[in-house]
Amino acid sequence: MGKDAKLPETEEGSVLFNLDPIIVKYHYEIDYLHSYAQDSPFFAGLAKKKLLGSRCTVCGYTYATPRGHCMECGEPTAWVELPLEGKVHTYTTCHFGGEAFLKETPYTLILVEFDGIDTLFLSRIVGAEPDEVRIGMPVRARFLRNCKFRPTDVYFVPL
């Protein structure tokens, strides 16, 4: 038993913004071991400059953004290669955004529609000024040479 026991003092302090009420800086960050799980082949496809969608093995409904099971009937889907050309279904230019993307503003988001595919694909368009983008505009997929295994490995340019 040591009645004179002491915790060691440290040089660390707190970042203080205000005294009444007391407002201090609190830092928090985390690294995940994130698995793409059953969607992994899509990201592997990006490295091979392919866009992979999902087609229902029973009802044939075809998704531009992959999913392992069909939203319409619940049956398993199979991988299907999407065309690399499509059309702008809708678009917006973001002048503001979440912290992670602020440095990239302004950037233009599009939903791409493909012939014969039932759903859409979210991506970015480059090579067109914001006021040049139109609904129905033909676009073509391009891929980063060095794959990051993120959905931004693919983007679209005007055709």
Binding site: T65, M71, T90, T92, F101, L109, L111, L122, S123, P151
Partner: protein, 431 residues
């Protein structure tokens, strides 16, 4: 299921930041207001609670609901958390309804809060965007205003909706809020003000968007026996409905319109639905709530609506989902002045189109002007609707400008994601 009534409600002032109060104290203030408003309602009479808050990231605290429960002195009674993005508050209200309707509780407290000021706005945008698919949507530049901008761009393409029609919604809701002391950002705006404010995501400017807020709200729900014993003016909840849609809006199907009783398939023969221009989950929620409440023509049978106007565009889209007008007519409905209060001067000229009965929408000021502390928002709507139906707006707001004369039936609508969870509840004055 047995009848359920709302017997009291309370709300804090919504503000950009309340650093002097944590979430427990904000809920406590709203709770004490609700208790004080109904003599005879005591803490002892409350059988349990449901607690709504959206993001653990904002709170920097997991299981925050348990801390509210103990702060309010409700331990060891039952409680649980309800979470569903922007619809968290509406889902919480319906969870309390379920607790009473099922007979599990005689009196259930629904309580909600959010403390969004604890991070910077851009970090808050990031937290909110994490409520979109984090594999496929968020990394592309995930930003909710961007998602809504793409949806309304398509609405404009399909139906000819204009940015000026959207701006009128901002003018309406900010001007209504001038008479609501609980509101965060009341204001006298013009269409020009809205259009010339900073662009966030084309075509939505910052005045087309709601702000982040700190705030709390509570609604106390009770059985008929308790409601009649304690209250001379209980408000009956006559319909509840909830709908959903795919998390990724890219996955939205293109099929047939879910019809309300006053509509026919013929009139939507050429419309692909819902696409990204309409909220199928909102239509489903409305259909279920109307079915339970016995409503067959909502525009004729509702006296007011408090709906989830996170964006001016989504208010217009929601007019259509709720059947206040037909799909495609939302912009014209606003142009005609149908959702405006009759006795307030807005500085706008209306089209004179008389196809629609006037149904005031967001007389409180809605999310655009009241603010959107997510977990509290759906309950805020319940509280304002409750006061409207009690004829008590003057008592609670300090002036009765926003009181709708003889309001007998109102609707509240809570909405998450890009339309992923949506609730509709119908409240009625009981004679």
């Amino acid at each position: 299921m047995r009848p359920v009534y709302m017997i009291s409600g309370g709300i804090t002032k919504f503000a950009k930041a309340h650093p002097e109060k944590d979430f427990r104290l904000m809920v406590k203030e709203a709770f004490d207001y609700a208790l004080a408003d109904l003599p005879g309602l005591t803490r002892e009479l409350i059988d349990g609670s449901v607690c709504s808050y959206f993001s653990d990231h904002f709170t920097r605290q997991l299981k925050a609901g348990a801390m509210v429960q103990d702060y309010l002195g409700l331990c060891p009674k039952p409680s649980r958390r309800i979470e569903g993005g922007g619809a968290t508050g509406g889902l919480c209200f319906q969870a309390a309804w379920e607790a009473v309707a099922s007979g599990r509780m005689e009196v259930c407290l629904s309580m909600g809060f959010e403390t969004m000021s604890r991070v910077n706005t851009w970090k808050g945008n990031e937290f909110i965007a994490l409520a979109s698919d984090t594999n496929f949507d968020y990394p592309v530049g995930g930003f909710y205003t961007g998602y809504y901008a793409m949806m309304v761009r398509r609405h404009m393409h399909e139906f000819g909706t204009t940015v000026e029609q959207m701006a009128k919604v901002a003018v309406k809701n900010h001007r209504n809020a001038l008479h609501n002391p609980y509101a965060q950002s009341p204001g006298e705006l013009s269409i020009e003000d809205v259009r010339s404010s900073p662009m966030v995501a084309t075509p939505l400017t910052i005045l087309d968007c709601c702000q982040m807020s700190d705030g709390a709200a509570v609604a106390v729900l009770a059985s008929e026996e308790v409601a009649q014993r304690l209250s001379s003016r209980p408000v009956r909840i006559t319909g509840v409905g909830c709908g959903t849609d795919a998390m990724r809006m890219a996955d939205r199907p293109r099929g047939e319109v879910i019809l309300l009783p006053h509509e026919s398939a013929e009139e939507y023969r050429d419309l692909t639905y819902p696409g990204v221009h309409s909220f199928r989950g909102g239509r489903m929620a409305a259909k279920l709530a109307y079915g339970m409440a016995g409503i067959t023509d909502p525009a004729r049978e509702l006296d007011f609506v408090e709906l989830h106007d996170a964006y001016t565009s989504s208010e217009i889209q929601t007019y259509e989902d709720l059947g206040l007008c037909r799909y495609g007519e939302g912009g014209s409905f606003a142009d005609a002045g149908a959702p405006f209060l009759p006795h307030i001067t807005y500085g706008l000229s209306f089209s004179g189109d008389d196809r629609w009965r006037r149904v005031p929408v967001n007389p409180s000021g809605g999310l655009l002007a009241c603010g959107h502390p997510v977990g509290a928002t759906g309950l805020m709507q319940a509280v304002f609707a409750f006061w409207q139906l009690q004829g008590a707006i003057g008592k609670h707001l300090g002036n009765d400008t926003l009181q709708i004369r003889d309001a007998g039936r109102g609707l509240i609508h809570s909405h998450a994601g890009t339309g992923t969870y949506i609730t509709v509840s119908v409240l009625e004055r009981s004679e």
